[in-house]
């Protein structure tokens, strides 16, 4: 038993992402058509050239028909997958394995979420636990539990930690301001973030991801076929996934300063790709910054920062657009917005642009041959009860 991975066996040969917005004038069908048309145009193929489809969505549709109806697909295998906020990445994972196996030659992974004008702000809650207490915690509150625990464990003053978290949000707003597809395209300074309306614990409204509608799509083929479609494919170096047992919520040993599922998922991804020193080998990372404490802890769980030192690395600008290891150069969930089923593919879209040197000039990172890898980390759930997806990508095979 082992995770063998499919290093360099599959390549992404086309991608597209819709603007993430409050799309009051568009339904899920419109967003799926826009993203899929964009992806096939990017690949230079026709819709009928695609052999199989995987659709990731948390709550916008139940089956493959959510995609096959608007695309008018007939006689094609179309599958809807769901894995919390990692649903879009899950679609990519299935599509990649499908072409790697030889079952199909060309597959589409597409993700969508229509969260506005559903009658709710955001998605309807997942089933309410039956102990009369858990629903007292909003999503923001669950992730905010990390901040006091982290401050206490590492001796960081809580007011200082508040500033650190604000610097994460401000960095992601800075990046999003350079991204025409992002929901929020304005720089926001640390003072504004710190004085914003409180939401949960020390988190204010600027510590929370944007709630947006959107879709994103990728076309994958076996690596040996990639140059039939593009001169600049993006090779999949690793795909890993971990679903936790959910025991953290009731486990007195769980300390709320790390997400064990992510540590495990990262170890698998790095082993598959052959990454031994992520801080110095990764060119950029798209990570799941649903709330600012999440991004802080992820820097340690992904091995970018030593334990207890992510906050000093944030203060030193390590993860800024012009820093040593840019994190969320597209603005992240914070600024790009979080249409749940689309977000994982959106993270790949930024790698698709950046690693191939095709990002808009004002946010293109400097490509350095000693850092050949891009990274996607996409989670679902909450501290103590989490699923995690990771991929590692690169423009050169082998």
């Amino acid at each position: 038993m082992a995770s063998h991975g499919i290093k360099d066996k599959v390549a992404i040969v086309g991608m597209a992402c819709t603007p993430f917005r409050e799309h009051w004038d568009k339904g899920a069908d419109d967003l799926l058509i826009e993203a899929s048309q964009g992806a096939i145009t990017s690949t230079g193929i026709a819709l009928d050239d695609i052999d199989a489809f995987w659709l990731g969505t948390a709550q916008t549709g139940m089956s493959g028909i959510t995609l096959s109806a608007p695309l008018k697909l007939t006689g094609k295998p179309v599958t809807r997958v769901e894995n919390y906020c990692a649903s879009g990445s899950e679609a990519l994972r299935q599509a990649a394995y499908a072409v790697a196996s030889g079952a199909y030659d060309v597959a589409m992974a597409i993700g969508v979420e229509k969260v506005k004008d559903s009658g709710y702000q955001g998605l309807n809650a997942f089933p309410i636990p039956n102990d009369g207490t858990n629903r007292t915690l909003t999503a923001a509150a669950m992730f905010s539990l990390v901040a006091p625990a982290y401050a206490n464990k590492y001796g960081v003053d809580e007011d200082e930690l508040k500033l650190v978290l604000a610097r994460i949000a401000s960095k992601n707003h800075f990046n999003g301001a350079r991204n025409p597809l992002a929901q929020f395209r304005k720089e926001v300074d640390v003072d504004t973030i710190c004085s914003a309306m409180p939401v949960a614990g020390r988190l204010g409204v600027f510590d929370c991801a944007g709630v947006a509608d959107g879709a994103a799509a990728a076309i994958v083929v076996r690596a040996e076929d990639a140059h039939r479609y593009t001169d600049s494919p993006l090779y999949i170096k690793a795909l890993s996934f971990v679903a936790g047992s959910g025991s953290g919520l009731i486990d007195p040993d769980y300390d709320y300063t790390t997400f064990p599922e992510i540590v495990q998922c990262a170890a698998d991804a790095y082993a598959q790709a052959g990454v031994s020193d992520p801080r110095h080998q990764i060119a950029m990372a798209e990570v799941h910054d649903c709330f600012t404490p999440t991004e802080l802890v992820l820097m340690e769980d992904l091995g970018f920062s030593e334990r207890g030192h992510a906050w000093t690395d944030v203060n030193a600008g390590v993860f800024a657009l012009d820093g040593e290891l840019p994190v969320n150069p597209d603005g992240g969930l914070k600024s790009f917005g979080h249409p749940v089923g689309a977000s994982g593919l959106r993270m790949h879209y930024e790698n698709w642009l950046q690693l191939r040197g095709k990002a808009p000039e004002d946010r293109q990172i400097v490509l350095d041959p000693t850092r050949p890898y891009g990274l996607v980390q996409n989670l679902g759930g909450y501290p103590g009860e989490m699923v995690c997806f990771m991929s590692i990508l690169g423009t050169e095979p082998g």
Binding site: G132, T136, G201, I250
Partner: protein
Amino acid sequence: MADAPRFDLPTIEAESAEFWAGMREGKLLLRRCGDCGALHYYPRPFCPECWSEDVSWQPACGKATLYTHSTVFVNDLPPFNEQVPYVAAVVDLEEGPRMMTQIIDCAVEDLEIGMPLEMTFREVTDEVSIAVFRPAGA
């Protein structure tokens, strides 16, 4: 007109009826395993450590310490939308198990990780009471 939906009430089932009866009487019932001795919460019909079904009720002493906390300022779900802000917390019971609860009678700035807490009960309806905590000796 039907009552507005609310999201703070449990569905009381045969397996949990005694637990909720305990709450009404001012007791937080943990479960102890007759085979391995482990205590657990929330109560299950088997021991999560050794899978024994020889489990019995044991009231918690009511002492706990604060592990971490979050003051909830925004929650759209009724009736929490009328209760904000409130302090949601993870506490470690003196007996060992951890629970999610609320802290009452404590200003946010006075919350301190590791602070000693004592249990009290809040009557939610005639049938449902829940255990909440406040600073010890407050």
